[in-house]
């Protein structure tokens, strides 16, 4: 076997964007067969020479892609000449999230959202549950008549929290939660969808929310407490029933993912194999990206403005909505071995995202490492139905095993500690 075809030495420059880990910019001749482990010890040795400190784990980026395995193989795959001096960027390795908690439910957990120190989960037993991030159960909210499919926070402050939930009973419900008295009130019921409402997303300003449903419609609703719609009848106001502000028709199948890209732009993903970007001021489609798989979930990152999609063929795909040929897959992340149900970008880390799949696993990815995820977040005993990383400190996922798993992101916690 051709084990040692490293083609000799490679000239490398070691660079980093993290000032305190910088090493002198001198080209080093390194054997082609080195892996991250050896590079790691090498960089650490250099750092020790410099200031005699620290033992840090680094990841190495060669031409914007994580080095996994041997350097020579990586170069060969990328068709990079061995003659050139190769720039290797090293970044501090993202610390592994720790499983922190397991929140037990009575039925499948199909939706989960964390905000502040609270975790909101939607369950197949038609109830919503509120938890603290310490794992304490606060409240069970019933009101829906069918399994909850999606939840989202509208606002949260010290006294009150407001959130919205959607269900297969074709409604979305707007809730107000009084933190102090620990009581929940259904502000209004949003009726208008003709089938189960699969996805919900609250606008960044917290004034509106959008829902996507199995009736292929995308509806935008007011999220304010008193829906001051002039046209609405008194009776409706009294009963707390809301009608959609905008109904957008365009998808041919169930709208499975909705996300606000900014105050007036919506991203939707659908089973009809398309991603659509809607302009709410125009009330029309801005961009359409057609893919060749049904999209179960889509996530847009404000940091790098890329879209990730989850589909049934085990792959996560990365799309760029800004390009003209938006249907060109920027990258494919293969690591799951079953239907991927949910995906979400990190709200603070530019390159990181999490995904949950029917292979009972959550995975933490760096978008520069398409071959392998950074970490597998094990814990679920059954299919993962929803994952959330909107609170950078916690990765929360709910699944068919009736649990919500909470994973603590050490980096975010450390940063928080630093700022304090």
């Amino acid at each position: 076997m051709d084990v040692d075809n490293g083609e000799g030495q490679v000239q490398v420059h070691l660079k980093t964007k993290q000032e305190h880990y910088a090493v002198p910019d001198v080209p080093y001749a390194i054997d082609g067969t080195v892996t991250t482990v050896e590079l790691n010890t090498f960089v650490n040795a250099l750092l020790r020479q410099k200031d005699g400190s620290s033992d840090t784990d680094f990841d190495f980026l060669v031409f914007d892609e994580y080095l996994r395995g041997r350097l020579c193989d990586h170069l060969r795959e990328k068709a990079i000449s061995f003659e050139d001096a190769i720039e290797i960027e090293y970044v501090e390795r993202f610390p592994a999230p720790e499983p922190q908690d397991c929140l037990l439910h009575d039925d499948w957990v199909s939706a989960v959202k964390a905000r502040g120190k609270w975790i909101l989960s939607g369950c197949y037993d038609n109830t919503l549950n509120l938890w603290t991030n310490k794992g304490k159960h606060i409240l069970t909210i019933s009101g829906h008549t069918a399994p909850i499919k999606a939840v989202d926070w509208i606002s949260l402050d010290e006294e009150t929290g407001r959130f919205v939930s959607t269900s297969q009973d074709q409604t979305a419900m707007l809730w107000q939660w009084n933190v102090g008295s620990n009581s929940v009130e259904c502000v209004s019921v949003c009726k208008g969808h003709e089938r189960g409402v699969d996805s919900v997303s609250v606008s960044p300003d917290g004034l509106r929310f959008a829902t996507g449903s199995w009736d292929t419609m995308l509806k935008v609703w007011s999220a304010e407490l008193d829906d001051a719609v002039e046209g609405s009848s008194k009776r409706m106001k009294e009963s707390g029933v809301r009608t959609p502000k905008i109904t957008l028709q365009g998808h041919r199948e169930s709208v499975s993912a909705v996300q606000w890209m900014d105050a007036t732009t919506l991203l939707t993903g659908s089973w009809d194999h398309t991603l659509k970007v809607w302009d709410l001021s125009l009330e029309g489609i801005k961009t359409e990206i057609s893919t060749n798989k049904s999209i179960f979930d889509a996530s847009y990152s404000k940091l790098n403005r890329l879209i990730l999609t989850a589909s049934a063929d085990k792959n996560l795909r990365l799309y760029d909505p800004r390009t003209n040929q938006g249907s060109v897959v920027r990258n494919t992340y293969l690591g799951h071995n079953a239907w991927v149900q949910t995906v979400m970008w990190s709200t603070t880390e530019e390159f990181l995202f999490v995904s949950g799949a029917y292979d009972n696993q959550n995975k933490l990815w760096d978008c520069r490492s398409p071959k392998a995820p950074l970490y597998d977040l094990l814990g679920h005993g059954e299919k993962v139905l929803d994952i959330d990383w909107s609170n950078p400190k916690y990765i929360v996922s709910g699944g068919v095993d009736n649990t919500v798993r909470v994973f603590k992101s050490r980096k975010a916690l450390a940063e928080e500690a630093e700022t304090k």
């Binding site: 003709e194 199995w214 049934a312 299919k383």
Partner: protein
């Protein structure tokens, strides 16, 4: 004289007409003469050998001959000359006579001998030859004479001395000079000394013409005739004095060209025409020359020259040149034997002899001798003499012969057909995406084999019917069982109403057909459907007894209403299959045991049933509505009949040529029909094309239970007892001239086997390229 008589007679016999005959007869005569000579010799000493010479010159005989030839019509002018010669001869003869008289017979013999000798010995030996030439020139004359009269054949010689032709000086020291016929010594005549000799010379006047006969040692006196002959020879004249050198020229063949033909007969026509046969022969020869079969003398000569040159033989000829075989073109030459090496020598160099280790190794490989490096053990002998007989000789010869016999001699031309070439050109499955490739979901919950599956027209929910007497409704995306409806009997078939405006599932369980409202999806629709099914419309048509005994409609009981069952249609026999019409108002059921009432069509809105067929054409297995036209497909065990429901007539009968049909599926456009059979086949019928299958697919290894077309994608799937679901691409073109394209794409085999059953039903998601399969392992699986 006898001799003369003989001569005369001979002369008469010979009457020569031409030279050749004359000469041949002359030789005959000669023999005769010899006989005569012998005859004469024997009786007495009185030899008449001289006659041999005599006759040559005998004028009488020649005269006579001459005359006779004259009689033949030759010119006569010769007579004079011959007579003139005769004169001369006669004078000579006279001389001869005289000599004869003096010397006697013996002398004469000697003379003759000496004469012949002289002619031999003479340096100008051309005498005899010229004489011969003369005789040739004068055929007429010589015909009368014995031609070889004075030749030197030993037979004719007068052999007195029998010693033969030896140098006579061998006898110099003896008293005798040889032996006569009676083996008595011939005593040399007394030799006087020189003085006596001299004196005799002085005394004898004829001394100058006396010579010694070396054979007999006798002195012989030459005759005048001999002397004359000698003289003529010496002087360089023609020895034969009879020869006339200046004879007149007779022009036998005239040099003049005759003006008129000599013959009276004109030349035959063919003498002017080129001969056909000759031409043929020439052309054949020319052809042969061209082809190189025949060779010109030059070529033959050249070849001979080449052959005569040195020849070299290549000892191992076939090493370089190819073998030529008569029957086999381009033969494979026989395998060569290896040349003997040093090890094979009787006295090999010591390094070739085995040492102990090698010997051991050689002996160890006794059971597998082909592994040995050498097939023998090198041995050393002092000399070649001591080499014993080779014990393996016969065996090795035999093996070699076997090799030669068994080795292939002709090159086999292999048909070099690439296997790829034989495969029809089908597009790569990769280009035909999307189609299901992986198992994505397993819907678990049933406890017995799942017989049937059907998908909601919107594609969110799924219904399955199982042998555990339950119907389950599932959420497709999550695999959650939303509802379980228990029934009293095994659920044979479930069918979701294809009309999206209705929320009804038809469930065939035992004898009953249940119309169930699943209560999923649009609430309004659920409500509407409930309303629709709640009230039975007023019956204005009185049903016939035949239908009444077969079917009863009724609303469900309260406990069943709870479960969602709205209407129960009770049949008189167990229902095997239920299928909806595309619009969702009609549904058809199959009861295989129902004889001539085995297929029924129910109308939902009017709660009415019909029995479309009055006669049973066979055991009905499967029925199907045409998606567009008012047609009804009925599959019996062997055939499929297509009926027009409006005209109420048979449209077409499809011949499947299979033993047992298990299921059917019609292409959404309605022109193509897929049929699955229990004999492992799937049949694709192009209804416009023929009543015979357009294509027969044998993809499965066991009975095919179910087939299904996708409503939107050009896909179809089949499920079989071999636990496999095979997804194929089945493209139907709008262009009527283009035949459907069928490409098997993927075999999905994840179901487990239970009691010889594998996959029982397959069904497509109405929108996505996803296929559902139900198996005997009590699961439903989704492949995406």
């Amino acid at each position: 004289m006898t001799k003369k008589l003989a001569l005369k007679r001979r002369g008469k016999d010979s009457e020569p007409t031409n030279e050749v005959v004359a000469s041949s007869e002359a030789s005959e005569n000669e023999e005769e003469e010899e006989d005569l000579l012998q005859a004469v010799k024997d009786p007495g000493e009185d030899s008449t050998d001289d006659e041999g010479i005599d006759q040559e010159y005998h004028s009488d005989s020649s005269e006579e001959l001459q005359f006779e030839s004259d009689e033949e019509g030759n010119y006569l002018g010769r007579k004079q000359s011959s007579s003139a010669e005769e004169d001369e001869e006669s004078s000579d003869e006279e001389d001869n006579e005289e000599e004869e008289s003096t010397d006697g017979e013996e002398v004469e013999d000697e003379e003759k001998d000496s004469k012949s000798k002289q002619t031999d010995d003479k340096p100008s030996g051309s005498g005899a030859a010229s004489k011969k030439a003369l005789t040739a020139e004068l055929p007429k004359r010589d015909s009368s004479k014995p031609e070889y009269q004075d030749s030197d054949t030993s037979d004719e010689e007068d052999i007195r001395n029998t010693v033969g032709n030896i140098p006579m000086h061998w006898y110099d020291e003896y008293k005798h000079i040889g032996y006569d016929w009676d083996a008595k010594k011939i005593i040399k005549p007394p030799q006087g000394d020189q003085i006596d000799e001299f004196l005799r010379k002085i005394e004898d006047p004829d001394f100058w013409r006396t010579v010694k006969d070396p054979l007999t040692g006798q002195d012989v006196r030459l005759t005048d005739e001999d002397i004359a002959l000698i003289k003529r020879i010496v002087s360089g004249r023609i020895p034969n004095k009879d020869h006339e050198e200046y004879e007149p020229w007779i022009e036998w063949f005239t040099s003049e060209v005759e003006k008129m033909p000599i013959k009276n007969v004109p030349d035959h026509k063919r003498s002017f025409l080129p001969s056909v046969s000759e031409k043929k022969r020439v052309s054949r020869m020319v052809h042969a020359l061209k082809m190189g079969w025949m060779k010109t003398t030059e070529e033959v000569e050249r070849e001979k020259q080449a052959k005569r040159g040195p020849k070299f033989y290549m000892l191992w000829e076939t090493d370089t040149s190819r073998e030529h075989m008569r029957r086999i073109h381009d033969p494979v030459s026989a395998p060569k034997r290896d040349l003997p090496g040093h090890a094979e020598s009787y006295n090999p160099p010591p390094e070739y002899l085995f040492d102990a280790k090698e010997t051991k190794e050689w002996l160890k490989l006794k059971d597998e001798p082909h592994k040995r490096k050498l097939h023998f053990m090198p041995q050393k002998f002092k000399s070649l003499r001591e080499v014993p007989a080779y014990s393996r000789y016969l065996r090795e010869r035999f093996l070699r012969c076997l090799d030669l016999y068994l080795c292939p001699r002709a090159k086999r031309v292999k048909l070099n057909i690439d296997a790829e070439y034989l495969i029809p050109k089908l597009p790569s499955p990769r280009d035909l995406q999307p189609f299901p490739t992986v198992e994505s979901m397993v819907y678990r919950g049933h406890t017995d084999l799942v017989r049937s599956v059907s998908v909601e027209p919107k594609g969110e929910y799924l219904v399955s019917g199982s042998d555990d007497k339950t119907v389950k409704i599932w959420e497709i995306a999550t695999g959650r069982c939303i509802r379980t409806i228990e029934t009293d009997e095994v659920v044979r078939c479930v069918a979701w109403c294809p009309n999206p405006k209705l929320s009804i599932i038809a469930v065939a369980t035992g004898n009953r057909l249940l119309l169930v409202n699943p209560k999923v999806g649009d609430k309004v629709l659920v409500k509407k459907t409930d309303d629709l099914l709640a009230e039975a419309p007023s019956q204005d048509v009185i049903e016939s007894e035949r239908i009444k005994t077969a079917v009863q409609w009724s609303n469900a009981e309260a406990d069943e209403q709870e479960k969602g069952v709205r209407v129960v249609i009770t049949h008189f026999k167990p229902i095997r299959q239920v299928t909806w019409h595309g619009r969702g108002d009609y549904l058809a059921t199959v009861m295989p045991e129902g004889a001539n009432r085995s297929a029924l069509i129910h109308q939902l809105s009017k709660r009415r049933s019909q029995i479309p067929f009055s006669k049973s054409k066979g055991l009905i297995q499967f029925v199907l509505f045409h998606p567009v036209k008012p047609c009804f497909f009925v599959a019996t065990q062997h055939n499929i009949r297509i009926y027009d429901l409006v005209k109420q007539e048979l449209v077409k009968k499809l011949l499947t040529n299979s033993k047992w049909i298990s299921g059917m599926s019609i292409h959404p456009k309605g022109d193509n029909l897929l049929v699955s059979t229990y004999d492992k086949k799937m049949l694709w019928f192009d209804l416009d094309l023929s009543t015979k299958p357009y294509q027969t697919m044998r993809l499965h290894r066991n009975a095919v239970r179910s087939v299904a077309f996708h409503l939107r994608y050009p896909l179809f799937a089949s499920g079989s007892d071999d636990q496999a679901v095979i997804v194929s691409h089945g493209m139907v073109y709008n262009d009527l001239l283009q035949n459907p394209l069928i490409v098997p794409l993927k075999k999905l085999q994840t179901h487990e086997k239970r009691d010889e059953f594998g996959v029982l039903d397959v069904n497509w998601h109405p929108v996505q390229p996803w296929v559902f399969s139900t198996g005997a392992d009590s699961t439903i699986r989704l492949y995406t």
